[in-house]
Each structure stands twice: as structure tokens, then as C-alpha cells.
Amino acid sequence: MEVMPKWAEVILVPLISLLLAAVLSALVIMAIGEDPIEAVNLMVTGALGSTYGWGYTLYYATNFLFTGLAVSVAFHAGLFNIGGEGQAMLGGLGVALACLLIPWPHWTLAILGATAGAALFGAAWAAIPAYLQAKRGSHIVITTIMFNFIAAALLNYLLVNVMRPQGSMDPASARFPETVHLPTLHDLLAPIGINFSKAAPANVTFLIAVLACVLVWFLLWRTWLGYEIRSYGKSEPAAKYGGISPTAITMIAMLISGGLAGMMAINNVMGEAERLVLNAVEGAGFIGIAVALMGRSHPFGVFLAAVLFGFLYQGGAELALWTNIPRELIVVIQALVILFTGALDNMVRMPLERLFLMMRRGNV
């Protein structure tokens, strides 16, 4: 028999973990002499109190949706992809090349090309660690970490030495042409009479991210490929017995994962900056880990977690603006979420299991 009912496993455990992270964050805020309730108020107003705030919250959430899904798909195959950061950087390169080299007539075509470029480059960057894991047994956690650094060095080199327009001092690519400008939520919602903030960067990519959520769910739970990915993630010997190729699944899962991470670049590079800059990813690849852990690697959970982190990011920026609390508070919260929902999972689970066991004994 299961020790815990399913609802406790799926809802109660993550909720308590989140609560613990929140309490500790509040203590941190108090320790630096600020009022946590005041801080939450500021964050809510700043992130959710206006369409401007929502625009930023959803912009960040879009990034985290992609990276969170990326980590989740790899998790389902039993692989820990820490390389979302590097894959998203390369995705940016793919987007930049697609936007700069091809004269797109309209954004609708450009976004298809850019998506392909982003996914392709992200997947390619994941392919090497995946291949080394599948064929040479190299630990994918270490190789993906290494590939993050290699990606940073590569982009640094390319932006400074190759892609920088003549005469520019910025280590950044040229600006993308006007035709590839993606419609923001303002542009999309105006025709149906909703007045959304013009200044916020949330754009059509958010819809693509939501679509990606749905597709990932279908992939994992409704197709035989997803079935094979999940089987392999649960038991490699069983997968082999069942005629599932470990090499193929490792490669496919990591290509999908890298592709998803890379697709983040449609949002931040094409949708927001409209050129490729250094450090465009800003840690979103790592936040994907927190998002996947909190969302229990389920696309719906990832969606909720991504929006929560979007809120935290925008709220954190507002805090930094109005109080003495630096933006790094968000990094602390993110760390606590990873800690409690990931590494200290058993700390929450063990007492809960004991509680449920006692309740069952009491009932008998």
C-alpha cells in the first residue's frame, strides 16, 4: 500500500516545502531590517498591480516556462540537465543568425525561422553532453556544467570578435531589422479592446510557451515516445528489456530538452532585446531547475511555478527599486525553493508519511 494518498504527494509536499522557503525568506528580509509584509505588498503591487507589472511577470514567466520544461523533460528521462543556461545562450545565437542573415518579409515567418534556429542551436549544444553520456558514460551533470562555461566563452568570443558591428563598442550583435519585431501583448490585446501596457516586454512568445507546455504534456503522457522516455527514466534495465534504446532515448530527451531551453531565446533575444547581447540569459537556465523541481516536472506544475517565479522576479526588481533589498533576494528565494523542494524533500516527506501512517493505524 502507498503510505501517502496521492493528493498529499502531489500538492501537500510541495506546498509545505514552498511554505518553508517562504518563511525562511521572510526571516532573511527581517534580518536585513526590512518588513516582510511590506515587502510582499510591494512585490504584489509591482508585479501584479498593473498591466505593466503583469507584462514583466509574464515576460519572465515565459523564459522560465521554456527552461523549466527543458529540465523537466530531461528529469523524466532520468537525466539532470544543468546546461539550460548554455543551451539558452546558444539558442540566442540561433535566433540572432536567423534574424540577421535571412531577410524575413513578416514577423510571422520570422518567428518560425527563429524558433527553428533557437531549437536547433539549443539542441545541438545539448547533443554533445547527451552523446557523451549515452556512448561514453560521461556524467551529464558535469558535462552540462562545463558546457555552460564553454558556451559563455564562445559567445563572448563571437560577440566581441565576429558579430559586433563595426564601430560599436558594445559586445553585442547588430540590431534586428524592424520586420522581425514581435507583437507585444499590447499589440495583441489592443484589437480586442483590452488596454495592455505598451512598455512591458511580454510578447507573443508567451503563447508559444503555453503551447509548448501542452505539447510536452501530450508527448510525455500520450505518445509512445513519452512512454519510452518515462520508462527509461524510471529504470534503465527495464527499458533495455522492453526494447527501448538507452542511447536513442538519452539523445532524444536531451535534444528536446536543449531545444526547449534554446527556444527561450525567442522571448528574450527576439521579443525583448532585438539583438544578441552578452549574458542575455541572466540565469534563467538555472531557474528552470527550481521551476521543474517545484512543478514536480509536470507541465501544469511547471506553468504554475514559472508564473510564480515570474512574479518573484518582477516583484524583486520592484523591491530593489523602492527599498534597500537588493535583487539578489530573489536568488536566495530561488535557492531556498531548490533546497526544500529538491534536496530536502525527505525532510518534509518523512514526518508527513509518519503522520499518515499514524492516522491510518488510528482508523483501523
Binding site: I145, N156, I325, L336, L339, L344
Partner: protein, 322 residues
């Protein structure tokens, strides 16, 4: 390239290798005991901040060092709690620790000093000064050997000498003492240790705490010897290079020394593109040189140059089986 340039290059190699070496040996203790640690970076960073902060507040670099070690050990304790006591995922715990350190250091630095996440610059007793070894001046006049002694061997901070002394000490502890035997055993087969009546939990905590001490010294070196004060994210990926060096060294102390010296040399060359041009006649971008340790580690991991086999029980929480 003249002799003096070479000496200068090697001198800065030693300086840059020191934190790598300490962190690498830290990781060696932890991973030999079966606890993977990708949180070396975070622990170094935390130690860098607290040693600089306490040194700035008290004016004593030694108190700073202690504070740095304590901070690093606190994170080690957290890692132990997650990965030993609660049998969580060691990699995820390491990731969390890295972010926790990255966030908290800036948060506290801002709260204490209000200088945009830095500490004030350390002066006088707030820093580890170079130690001039005996007769450095007089021996220095001897051709060839003199400059080597005066410029390369003499004139480092005490922490450099500690780091290098740690290599034979680590080797001796691991391979010549009871503690070392048990530590290696618990990383290979904790079941053997447990059934022999030795506490797996105790040994692993001990290893993780030693890791904390060494990371603490590494971090303190960054902010109180290599530089004079803490700046945001000053560990700059060194924890990961140390991890790479550990794999490169295949978890062996002497090889850890060679690996970190090699990676230190890359670091030194990164700042001297002129030297590379002089030797190889080509211009190599600093950014690409910086990526070299990572590329080499991937090649080692891929098993193209000798296979790196980690301790067998590494990464697995120990659960007694029936």
C-alpha cells in the same frame, strides 16, 4: 620570452592555482567519501565574503579567516543535512548552495556595508601579506636559482604555503591512516563500513566538514590575499574549475596538484596574451583560453584520455538494506 617573464608567469600560476588546489582537495575529501559536491563554488564565495567582512570589521585577517571557514562549514553542514541525513539529491543540494551563497553574500554585504554588494577595501592587518622567506634578498642575486627562490618560491601569503602543504598531508591521511581507510571505504561501499561497526553518517559528515574547512581557506584566500576585499560573484567559476581539476586528477591528491597548476597556468596565460603570441606566434583570445579547463575536462570525462572512474558509491545516499 625572457627568463624573468617566465618566472612572473609561473608566479602568477601559483597564485591562481592556490584557490583551485584548496577547493580541489576539499572536493576530494567529500567525493572520496561518496558525497558529490558541486557546491564548492558557493562555499568558496561565502567564505570569501565572510572573511573579508570580518577582516574589515575587526581589522584582523586571522579572525576573517576563521569567519570564512565557519561560513563555509555552515554550508557544508547544510549539504550534509540534505545529502546524508535526509538522503536528498546531492547534485540538487549543491546547486541550491551555490545560489544561496550568491544571493546571501550580496544581500548581507549590502546590509552591512551599503557599497553595492562589496566589502570595503582591506588594508594592513586586514590582508594576508606576502611572506618573505629567509635570505630571499641575498639568494636572489644568484643567477637562475636565485630569482626562482626570491620571486617564485618566496613572497606568497601563508595560505599559499598551507595549500601546497595540504597535498602531502591529504595523501598521508587518505592512504596511511585509519581515518583515510574508512573514508575511502565509505565512498566505495558504505555497506562494508556500516557492517564493520563504523558509522557511515559520522564518516561522511567528517568528510563534508573537512571539505568545508578547505573551501573556507580557499575563499578567504580570494578576498584577503589574492585581492583586497570582496566583490559580488568573485569566485567566478573557480569552484567548477576545481571540480574539473578533481575529475582530471581522478580523485588523487598529487594529481590534483598537477591539474590545478595546469589550470592555474591557463589562468595566468589568459592575462598575458603577449606571452602566448611570443611562444606560439598566434593570437589566442583570452575568452577561449578561459574555456580550456572545461574543454579538457569534457575530453577526460569522455574517456578519450584515460577514463575517470569516480568513487563507486558517489552520489548515492546510503540506505541500509535488509
Amino acid at each position: 620570452m625572457d627568463f624573468l617573464t617566465l618566472i612572473q608567469l609561473l608566479d602568477s600560476t601559483v597564485r591562481l592555482a592556490t584557490p583551485l588546489l584548496l577547493a580541489c582537495l576539499a572536493g576530494l575529501f567529500s567525493e572520496r567519501a561518496g558525497i558529490f559536491d558541486i557546491g564548492l563554488e558557493g562555499k568558496m564565495l561565502a567564505a570569501a565574503f565572510f572573511s573579508a567582512a570580518i577582516a574589515a570589521l575587526t581589522g584582523s585577517v586571522w579572525l576573517g579567516l576563521l569567519a570564512g571557514i565557519a561560513a563555509s562549514m555552515a554550508f557544508s553542514l547544510l549539504h550534509g543535512l540534505a545529502s546524508i541525513t535526509f538522503r536528498g539529491n546531492q547534485l540538487i543540494s549543491g546547486v541550491a548552495i551555490n545560489f544561496l551563497a550568491a544571493g546571501l553574500t550580496v544581500l548581507i554585504a549590502q546590509d552591512w556595508f551599503s557599497q553595492g554588494g562589496r566589502t570595503p577595501s582591506l588594508m594592513g592587518g586586514g590582508r594576508f601579506e606576502p611572506l618573505i622567506l629567509p635570505f630571499a634578498e641575498s639568494i636572489g642575486t644568484i643567477p637562475f636559482l636565485g630569482p626562482i627562490y626570491q620571486e617564485l618560491i618566496s613572497g606568497h601569503s601563508i595560505l599559499v604555503y598551507i595549500a601546497f602543504a595540504m597535498v602531502p598531508l591529504t595523501w598521508w591521511v587518505l592512504f596511511r591512516t585509519r581515518f583515510g581507510l574508512r573514508l575511502r571505504a565509505v565512498g566505495e561501499n558504505p555497506g562494508a563500513v556500516d557492517t564493520a561497526g563504523v558509522s557511515v553518517v559520522g564518516l561522511r559528515y567528517a568528510a563534508v566538514m573537512i571539505c568545508g574547512v578547505l573551501c573556507g581557506i580557499a575563499g578567504a584566500y580570494l578576498s584577503t590575499a589574492l585581492q583586497a576585499g570582496f566583490v559580488k560573484d568573485m569566485s567566478a567559476g573557480r569552484g567548477f574549475i576545481a571540480l574539473a581539476a578533481l575529475i582530471f586528477a581522478k580523485w588523487r591528491p598529487w594529481h590534483a596538484l598537477y591539474a590545478t597548476l595546469l589550470f592555474g597556468l591557463f589562468g595566468a596565460l589568459e592575462t598575458r596574451p603577449d606571452v602566448i603570441q611570443a611562444i606560439f606566434g598566434i593570437k589566442v583570445q583570452g575568452a577561449l583560453l578561459g574555456a580550456l579547463p572545461y574543454v579538457m575536462t569534457v575530453i577526460i570525462l569522455a574517456g578519450f584520455v584515460g577514463k575517470a572512474i569516480p568513487p563507486r558509491a558517489g552520489g548515492e545516499p546510503y540506505v541500509k538494506e535488509r
